[in-house]
């Protein structure tokens, strides 16, 4: 039950979204891996934010800066007090990524539509192929980036050397070093395979049910607390290949389980596996986490 989660208000149901899609205080945002899915049909009234072309700087490897984030929100009719509800494909993977970027720049009220596109479609709820709606511009003011949710390389190295908990959310084959990229995904450049020594392997999709919704708090605790041994107050860093899948796990740990100190290392394996001299472990993990 949603009410069992640590921050139940961050998850909304598909029914809630259908009721609130014309609510001027709510903005529904679709974020997908596939850039054309929105055009094929989206929740009526939803705007589109693309993880890559909207949220990433196209020159430097980084997110858009504070000013461009503010401009993005203003152009989508998102004000500082708007309730922003994210949903998308692949079990809300990219919805969580967009949610994370909104939290990075301090947006107060962010939520995820539990079940994402998949559940919305399977329930036969309305979709439209209308062009993206235009909403009145706002005077959005973005905050300075919140460093408490973003980890950088040197910090991860320090964290690792003190044996603090790291969660590697990539596929088991990427974790052991057998593959340098997701199974069936294009090779996206890491020179070395393996994982950060001491990291626990918990593929991100273990946190979701077959229908695309998040697992119950009890089932999530079974994985992250009982099986992996995470302690609620420990500082945890999650990483993957470019910081996308790990923003999903970050959401689960921080909002559904209520871990207060979770960071996403967006440099992830495509940084770690390319930097000279970084410690790397291959095969299964040798150290307990906790």
């Amino acid at each position: 039950m949603a009410k069992d989660y640590a921050h139940p208000e961050t998850l909304v149901t598909t029914a809630w979204v259908e009721e609130h899609r014309d609510d001027p205080n709510v903005r529904i945002v679709e974020s997908d891996e596939d850039v054309l899915l929105y055009e094929m049909g989206h929740v009526p009234g939803a705007v589109k934010i693309d993880w890559h072309t909207d949220l990433q700087d196209q020159l430097i490897r980084d997110y858009i800066d504070k000013d461009r984030f503010a401009e993005l929100c203003a152009s989508k009719g998102i004000a500082n007090d708007t309730t922003v509800v994210f949903y998308g494909d692949k079990n809300n993977w990219w919805a969580c990524y967009a949610f994370w970027v909104f939290k990075l720049y301090g947006h107060a009220d962010c939520r995820i539509m539990n079940g994402g596109r998949k559940l919305w479609e399977s329930e036969g709820r309305p979709t439209t192929r209308d062009p993206e709606p235009e909403y009145p511009r706002t005077n959005y003011v973005a905050q300075e980036p919140d460093r408490t949710i973003r980890a950088f390389r040197d910090e991860v190295l320090k964290h690792q050397s003190k044996n603090k908990p790291l969660i590697d959310v990539r596929s088991p084959q990427e974790f052991t070093g057998e593959l340098l990229h997701m199974p069936d995904y294009p090779q996206e450049g890491a020179l070395r395979g393996g994982h950060i020594p001491g990291a626990a392997s918990v593929p991100w999709a273990r946190a979701v049910n077959d229908d695309g919704t998040f697992k119950s708090r009890r089932d999530l605790e079974k994985i992250y607390v009982k099986e992996v041994g995470l302690k609620r107050r420990s500082p945890v860093i999650a990483y993957c290949r470019i910081g996308e899948r790990s923003s999903h796990t970050w959401f689960v740990l921080q909002y559904l389980l209520g871990f207060p100190k979770v960071k996403n290392y967006d440099g992830s394996w495509t940084e770690w596996g390319n930097v000279v001299g970084m410690p790397i472990e291959k095969g299964t993990s040798t150290q307990p986490v906790g």
Binding site: D34, V35, E39, D50, H52
Partner: protein
Amino acid sequence: MTPTLREKAESIAKEFEDLEPRERLELLLEFAEKLAPLPAEYQAERDAGTNRVHECQTPVFLWARVEDGRVQVFADVAPEAPTVKGFVSLLAEIFSGAQPDEVIAFEPNLVNRLGLADALGMVRMRGLTAVAYHIRQKVAQAISG
């Protein structure tokens, strides 16, 4: 007269170039929607997981054959991956009906000519270029085999 592969490719590239970025995505979506259903003869192979393009993020299945000296390309792409589907459909259209030599000689950098880089971003462009190389390779195999 049948247009050459290069003429077809040039004409499609020009069609994209003449559009606004947002309209380019719409055109790509049109290609996605007109990809012909996979012929029944290939469905069992697809269901068995063969002929899958392993460089590609979504399940993409490709077949190429040469009949009466002309290349035919067949493909199946998951509907939840319309970008890849549109691109595969576009390539299938360009390559189908071409002479095998034209396909082998074709440089699959067409992806960079469609003016989609801004709309899709670099990461996706790399994946799509890989699909283009793969189709060319399939055709080469079909000819030699």
